[in-house]
Symmetry: D2
Subunit: 306 residues, 4 copies
Amino acid sequence: MTRIAFLGPRGTFAEAALRTLAAAEHADLLPAGSVFDALDAVRDGSADLALVPIENSVEGAVTLTIDELTNGSPLVIVDEAVLAVQFSLVAPPGVALSDVAHIATHPHAQAQVLGWLRDNLPDAVVLPALSTAAAAAALTETPRPFDAAVAQSITAEIYGLTILADAIGDTSDATTRFVLVSKPGAMPAPTGADKTTLSLFMRTDQPGALLAILTEFAVRGVNLTRIESRPTRKAMGDYFFSVDIEGHLADARVAEALMGLHRICLDVRYLGSYPRHDGKPPVLRPGVTDTDFSEARQWLGHLKGN
Amino acid sequence: MTRIAFLGPRGTFAEAALRTLAAAEHADLLPAGSVFDALDAVRDGSADLALVPIENSVEGAVTLTIDELTNGSPLVIVDEAVLAVQFSLVAPPGVALSDVAHIATHPHAQAQVLGWLRDNLPDAVVLPALSTAAAAAALTETPRPFDAAVAQSITAEIYGLTILADAIGDTSDATTRFVLVSKPGAMPAPTGADKTTLSLFMRTDQPGALLAILTEFAVRGVNLTRIESRPTRKAMGDYFFSVDIEGHLADARVAEALMGLHRICLDVRYLGSYPRHDGKPPVLRPGVTDTDFSEARQWLGHLKGN
Amino acid sequence: MTRIAFLGPRGTFAEAALRTLAAAEHADLLPAGSVFDALDAVRDGSADLALVPIENSVEGAVTLTIDELTNGSPLVIVDEAVLAVQFSLVAPPGVALSDVAHIATHPHAQAQVLGWLRDNLPDAVVLPALSTAAAAAALTETPRPFDAAVAQSITAEIYGLTILADAIGDTSDATTRFVLVSKPGAMPAPTGADKTTLSLFMRTDQPGALLAILTEFAVRGVNLTRIESRPTRKAMGDYFFSVDIEGHLADARVAEALMGLHRICLDVRYLGSYPRHDGKPPVLRPGVTDTDFSEARQWLGHLKGN
Amino acid sequence: MTRIAFLGPRGTFAEAALRTLAAAEHADLLPAGSVFDALDAVRDGSADLALVPIENSVEGAVTLTIDELTNGSPLVIVDEAVLAVQFSLVAPPGVALSDVAHIATHPHAQAQVLGWLRDNLPDAVVLPALSTAAAAAALTETPRPFDAAVAQSITAEIYGLTILADAIGDTSDATTRFVLVSKPGAMPAPTGADKTTLSLFMRTDQPGALLAILTEFAVRGVNLTRIESRPTRKAMGDYFFSVDIEGHLADARVAEALMGLHRICLDVRYLGSYPRHDGKPPVLRPGVTDTDFSEARQWLGHLKGN
């Protein structure tokens, strides 16, 4: 049976995201204490796959995940899942909304429900917790350390809590993107609607480095969907770029762009090609399909007299 | 007396960074519970200035700070400080290194001392805390909730702890960059070695948007020192770009680049021009000094017959 | 009365083009022996204006004109005319098509009627002449030096010739573009559909020079309608670029692009802004109108606290 | 024996240039009446090769040659020659400098000796001739139609003339570049110092077309040595670009750039790869040698699991 590590404990968004993937259906799901632990489980063979968050529509890139994938022994992304992130106010049975004086949650979650709290519980004290699931779990203790938690509604079911208010996030369509990671091996077949993730290290911190990188993509009609400059962990101002692009390593335009990057970069870390969660194919400008590349190669062969 | 809010509690790196700035010398230093609270103190007038972290050589951009500056009522950066981030293992008096079985610290700090822990305390259990200073402060409780904390050495002095090991970070030159923020008003005078921080919102999520932005800078010889794509808090894939550039709003090349960006962007949020902490002037290519801009304007006037 | 020099003799396309311009209506028209002579007449004051060819839809740029405008004392273009270039076979009265054994014309004109000659007079010998009008004029001599000339139909009227065949050019819509030139002074007012002509000298023969020039235009949304690399008359491989752009010096986007070019070029020779002959306004991308530039400047002033 | 057509008559610069090439040593040299005729001789098989002028350091591109190579049945350049263009004043025996009242020459040559004429023969009348060699040849007629000709010094020897003054050009280092043309077939082997000539037709007259073309070259580190926009003989404003680039079709960077152009252009006309006359190898930026391309391809194969 496939063993999949995920960022636990039970009731986290990671688990909810994992359950949307076909790979999870008959798999053994292993909660891990951190992104480190989840990825290490794949690296040391104690898990076959790991699901970790990589991007959040409110908080942005999960830099820890990006850095961990970029450093250490090679891992590649083989699938992605995007989950709507919705918050509820959960409490132990018997606690009513009017009883809530102390609330615990993760500061990121707090940031997303500020409006609701201001309108509905203006006098409540909010205590920081290490995760929303941890805050919910703590409500099972006796005596309860606080009155309620801002967490996923699924935690109510897991920990036997009541939902006092549902969908309390200020932004109704917040989402988190997770990636399923494995050791390098069989690559997912191209579907026509794929993404590829890369970490690009520049030779020096030259002013035009990013412009050069973007031009390698633009010339081959490859669109970017995410970019982050990330420190290389050496000195402030020494960066690499973490990017997601549209397309698969098997696409000619992606392959040529990657070879171009390999020539101008100090290092290109390939982090996998995988199907887009939304199945949305790229809008390509003329001249960059596999057919266009193949015809150009034939024409060149003809010029060379081959 | 100037009142300066900072990310507390006492003993955080933010306080240490603040003490390196001239502005802090005779100021009233006000610890704040979060980046939110520190910035809100300036917005609501309960503080004149706030010092908050914006970038870390290990962890990258502090997205919370960037987002808070970008949204809400206008604030501008007026100075910056860069602090070497060094970790120590601190414990209550009487605890020896061989006694340490449980350690608390913030996960980010843990990430930076993994090597030292593996070599010196391979069997210790590491517990997550909300901040390194909070972990150190908790060691004053009785009974002590754990044996030691990974924190700044200054916390030993503040909380009456012993330093069991100093400089235990895996990367010896890790640094954090902090920015001093005020309400818009008098701008720091240009020094010849300045930075400007901007948040750039694109009209649509078009493929070439970032290339267009970078070209506006490149054409005027303006170098970038940091760039992040950040979600606009609306939907996944709807980004703004947070950038630091070399130069001051008073520099002609910066002013023209900003006007160019204003014309192509949906919105440009100006977050201040301020002296670089290292006093390092930009290396400019020919043709982009104030004199070059001024001569070009005179020449144009001559062509127009003025 | 305004005196206008043009590339003579009478009956040239230059004269026909000149007659389409309002400036020629009550003017004294002075045929000149060459482009040099026409331009020199303006430079030495013996004419107020000169009309010279600058571009031909079949033969391309008239490099002599471009070089003469670029070098020597300053001249500027104040208007343009585009003339359909159509060829006829003209002959002295009494000569029939079947009598034609020898034809004279300018080699460029010959190149444009090759198809007609092959189909209609396959055995005729074609003699080179210095201009089509000179060939027609020579037909008034006795005995006639050849039987017919390929020239403009207007030469029939001027020199008392018969038109044996009309519209014999292989390309039915060949055109020549002429420019009206004066000493620098009052500039034609912008009409909203203007062109500007420039000669751009690079600092060195660096590989990226042309890319840099084109980027200065592209960033301000200025379109090019013609570009030629031209030797600087110093050494092979030492070039300047002759370009026509859409827009008037009074347009903000053109003015800013020119200042940008002034900063990166060794020299920018401004050769005038003038109304397009076809009155076709440019298709502008968003963000580059005068209003956009003016709003950006106001916004900048606001940031600076002005 | 190899038959080589050249732009005659005897004594032209074309013949002098041809004699500098190894191919001419034991060849049958065939003077042709025009560039058309020389190229047609190769096309119809009456010559194996043709030498025609393509660029002049004073007058720029020889557009007739470029257009003739671009249109019609395929021809390719296999070699080039560059000749210093120097002018003399030649006259029949017995004519002294003080006797010279009428001079004939080609207008282009006249343009290059204006300074000398002004200083030495300010009152001489200059008559236009179809070529400098034709002017010299006419001096053998009796009675002589004019007193002297501005032509190559070699014409003195050919036509039995006297050199009245040597090296009278205003620019001492004027040169003309000639190309040796054949039917497509065996391509000259790469020498490490080669050029490739192309005609590039755009899909539409879009503003960014030239920028796109230059970017295809720049991304692969291919330098341009000449560029001309040329009308397509259809309508004013409908252009193709004639370019010379550094490198050989057998160079990986050139091959990839050509395939890129093939994808974005309406048509790419390949006009040959051939050794540079000066043997000067290109200065390449890092990452664009054949080794770099080959290593990038190997790396890609490794990623794909091949």
